[in-house]
Amino acid sequence: MTTQQPLSELTARERLLALASPAALHDLAPPGQLPLSPHLARLNLPVSFDDGVVIAEFETDVGTVACAAQEGEFMGGAVGEIHGAKLTGLIRRAITRRHQAIWLLLDSGGVRLHEANLGLIAISECMRAVFDARAAGIPVLALIGGRFGCFGGTGVLAGCCSAIVMGEGARLGMSGAEVIETVHGVEEFDSRDRPAVWQTYGAMPRRLAQDVVRIVDDDVAAFRSAAMAVTKHLLTDRRESERAGPHRQRQLEDRAKTAADAATPRRPQGAQHALLTASQFEAWLASRS
């Protein structure tokens, strides 16, 4: 009798259905309601009726939650014009309808390069909508548990949310290891060096640096209970967004200083910053398998 249901193995729609359960999912853009991407069609590329993101609402014991799930299997979950407009629309809708929370299941490489500028502007609109929601006292959670990770502009979008919850196997960053290796060579970053990749983008180093509030198992129920707990916590403090900024500013300044000290030979002990050493990482990896 197994109850574990790995989030990473589900489609975007299945993730939303599972997170909403037992409540029903109210799909805000059922098939056929929105146009297909003319930009992909023009390049003779496959299109998808949902443009790689499902948006919906459902009831929870704290009230209505607006929720989006990016489909990593379609164009790597990347953000095009329609995809981004759906996210922005969902967030603006949650503000006008005074929903209790917004959960974004991010699984995306960032801007969809086939829609280039439109994708970048769309992510910018999502970022501003997230800040509007937070200023209105609505917690916005980034839930990162997919197989494609959360990179580029979507990584920045995650950082704009009230809090980030990560699956233990998820990755989060801006430029991925492959991109850095392509530009600066394998000496800078060997993208096949799995421990190095996880030590840079993995849930554990992000949690240790406090960029992420929780790490959860790759399990739908675990994601749901973590999301509910974080949401409830944030709802008790509607003005969190005002304090969160200055707090993070201090945190990042400390991090920059620690890294600079570590790079100065005079103070080698400064190297003990928030990241794991290679041996600590190996021990952690071994403990998970």
Binding site: A85, R93, L118, I121, M174, Y201, Q249, L252, E253
Partner: protein
């Protein structure tokens, strides 16, 4: 266009920092104190610069003015910066601008060189109003890298860039998509426009999707946003 070409726009300018990666200055524009922030020579924005810029934004007094002067080829690509959490530093920079706007600071952006994704997303695209000087270049990624990733031939991308704003890097194309508020011909035009902005209260509401539809460069976004907002 260089930063020095742009400075005559202001009555005076004193740099607090002008280094390889970013600058910060106090300028005066028709009697108003203005904080100038940004980068020159197409500098890449890394973790430390993003944190420093955000600190400067947070230090700007209420009802102050910040003008971002942008010439950046994007975010720094390095393992160190990714380890430190570049995504968080960029998000923090964007958040610092949002918070400044909410406490009454006017935030304007001027692209005078290049504006490429990363740092642009966290600076110019967060401003109340964004302008570009004629000849500036705005893009998501340089064309060879884009060709590699999209598997579209560079020549095709180049052709697409001339016929459609989607791949275009000219300021007029970004204006058509609603991302920019005006393309400015010279420093005199920039001065006029900045003075005009300082004379009025900027709107916090994001109107870029509407603008993109009205100007014809971004046809779908606004109607889809509205459809979702109003869905039964």
């Amino acid at each position: 266009m260089t930063l020095d070409d742009l400075l005559p726009c202001f009555d005076s300018c004193a740099f607090q920092h002008r280094g390889d990666n970013y600058f910060a200055a106090r300028a005066v524009l028709a009697g108003r104190a203005v904080t100038l922030l940004g980068s020159e020579h197409g500098a890449y924005v890394g973790f430390d610069v993003a944190v420093e810029l955000a600190r400067a934004v947070r230090q700007c007094q209420d009802a102050g003015v910040i003008v971002f002067l942008i010439d950046s080829r994007g975010q720094k690509l390095s393992r160190r910066d990714e380890s430190l959490g570049l995504f968080a530093a960029m998000a923090n920079l964007a958040e610092s601008i949002d918070a400044a706007k909410r406490r009454g600071v006017t935030v304007l952006g001027v692209v005078y060189g290049q504006a490429v994704s990363g740092g642009f997303l966290a600076t110019g695209l967060m401003a109340h109003k964004l302008f570009a000087m004629q000849g500036a270049q705005l893009s998501v990624m340089n064309r060879p890298a884009m060709a590699r990733i999209t598997k579209l031939p560079e020549i095709e991308l180049e052709q697409l860039a001339t016929t459609s704003p989607v791949f275009g890097d000219r300021p007029a194309q970004h204006w058509a998509m609603g991302a920019l508020d005006e393309v400015l011909e010279d420093v005199a035009a920039l001065r006029r426009r900045l003075l005009q902005e300082l004379a009025s209260d900027p709107a916090l509401h994001d109107q870029r999707a509407e603008a993109g539809r009205e100007r014809g460069g971004r046809q779908l976004a606004y109607s889809i946003i509205q459809k979702v907002v109003n869905a039964a």
